[in-house]
């Protein structure tokens, strides 16, 4: 299969046509500039900061390091698709209530990383949380409020499950 003038991507369950794109465009660029999905943030564009984290076939990866035209046929999920109705998830609510958001630039990537962690491990210890978020850089909070938000989600989910 080859792509020339256009290709289509499946983002948050919907098909999107990408037209007249340059071959070297990253998924981050295509999401933000061509598909109108600016939730994923572009900061370092070299895979260091995690602010562009999306899921591709359920793996959390940096969308700046994915050549967009190579993920035709993959399931792409962005922060915009976390809740179908666009309402805040429990992780997003906890970020707000625990003061884990300051400038907010890293927040979408962190929210994606936290959801990914809790989907695979519903009771991570402190070390596991730190390891899972080690690819997401925040320059404002010092991380304390972010870890508090994760702790809050874990305990609320546990208390509502029991």
């Amino acid at each position: 299969m080859s792509q020339h003038e256009y290709y289509s991507l499946t983002v948050n369950g919907e098909q999107h046509i990408v037209q007249d794109a340059w071959i070297g465009e990253s998924l981050l660029y295509v999401l933000r500039e061509r598909l109108g999905l600016p939730g994923s943030k572009g900061a370092c564009e070299q895979g260091e900061c995690g602010s562009c984290t999306v899921y591709i076939d359920n793996a959390a990866v940096c969308s700046c390091l994915v050549l967009a035209a190579t993920v035709v046929g993959s399931d792409i999920a962005t922060v915009e698709g976390l809740n179908d109705d666009g309402s805040l998830t429990d992780v997003q609510e906890a970020f707000v209530t625990e003061g884990a958001v300051q400038c907010g630039f890293c927040t979408p990537g962190l929210v994606m990383a936290v959801h990914h962690l809790l989907e695979h491990n519903d009771s991570p210890n402190e070390q596991e949380v730190k390891e899972a978020l080690s690819g997401n850089i925040c320059r404002c909070t010092g991380y304390g409020r972010i870890f508090a938000a994760v702790e809050s989600v874990i305990s609320v989910r546990k208390s509502t499950a029991s």
Partner: protein, 277 residues
């Protein structure tokens, strides 16, 4: 300017034969950085993402061989069966970038780029791994020592695709250590893999030479002493000898002097861990 996404290995090798200058791409963690910063302008890309043959791995306990497909992500090597079979590879995998990078990066990418700082490469060297290559017309298997021929240079031909590696398990301890400027998300300043197989020590060095260096003289020296004779003093001398076999340079990440020192300290520590295990 096409992007090809073949779904079988034969389709991939046919496409590569027709487009020998195509950029092979799996995770994108190296290549896309260069594209994003306008250092490279890809003309034709051959994505290996849909080749299931490259995503498979298996452990054959009867032969003692582990096969890992070129596109298997580092995340798969960090824990579980692969980590039990190849602890040094698991340790190296855990030091690669961040969780997001480890979900995308693979041995095929590390081998394709062949940077002296490639985290998995000292492991492939110390464990005597072989690299499998396929083209439209032939297949071959190359020992890692003959695969990496210089900084970012390997013996892969333009019409070949790296399909995977075969790594023999060791009868003894194996471990990996790396020095960088911080703990997470860092490129190595110096790295060492040490493995013990049939009571013979093997040691491979990363980021301290144009290629991964097997410290053969140091191996001969320590193996002539015998593992039971290793004391703190001999472990230190081993580190000094390993240092002398390194060939580091000054660059933007560190100095040759520091790298030479660090690689010796890492070798001493790994040897001490290995014999006390």
């Amino acid at each position: 300017m096409p992007v090809f996404i073949p779904t079988s290995l034969s389709e991939a090798t046919d496409l590569l034969a027709a487009h020998p200058s195509a950029q092979l791409l799996t995770g994108g963690t190296d290549f896309m950085v260069e594209v994003n910063f306008n250092h490279r302008h890809p003309d034709t890309v051959l994505s290996l993402r849909k080749l299931t043959e490259l995503q498979e791995w298996n452990i054959d306990h009867s032969s003692g061989l582990v096969h890992i497909g070129a596109s298997v992500p580092y995340a798969t090597m960090e824990h579980g069966e692969l980590a039990t079979a190849l602890p040094a590879l698991a340790e190296a995998a855990r030091t690669v970038g961040s969780p997001q990078i480890r979900a995308a990066g693979s041995l095929g990418g590390n081998l394709g780029t062949c940077s002296p700082a490639g985290d998995s490469l000292p492991v492939l060297s110390a464990l005597n791994a072989t690299v499998h290559l396929i083209s439209q017309t032939s297949q071959r298997t190359v020992p890692f020592a003959d695969f990496m021929v210089g900084p970012k240079r390997n013996s892969k031909l333009p019409n070949e695709i790296i399909t995977g590696v075969t790594i023999p398990m060791t009868t003894g301890w194996q471990g990996y250590a790396k020095v960088g400027v911080r703990n997470a998300m860092v490129i190595s300043v110096a790295s060492v893999c040490l493995a013990i197989h049939d009571n013979q020590v093997r040691v491979a060095l990363g980021s301290v030479g144009p290629t991964i260096i097997r410290a053969k003289e140091s191996e001969l020296w320590i193996n002539s002493l015998g593992l039971s004779q290793i004391s703190e003093v001999t472990a230190r001398e081993f580190g000094q000898r390993v240092s002398q076999e390194s060939r580091p340079i000054d660059d933007h990440r560190s100095t040759a002097e520091y790298r030479r020192h660090a690689v010796g300290v890492l070798a001493t520590r790994l040897l001490q861990r290995g014999i006390s295990a």
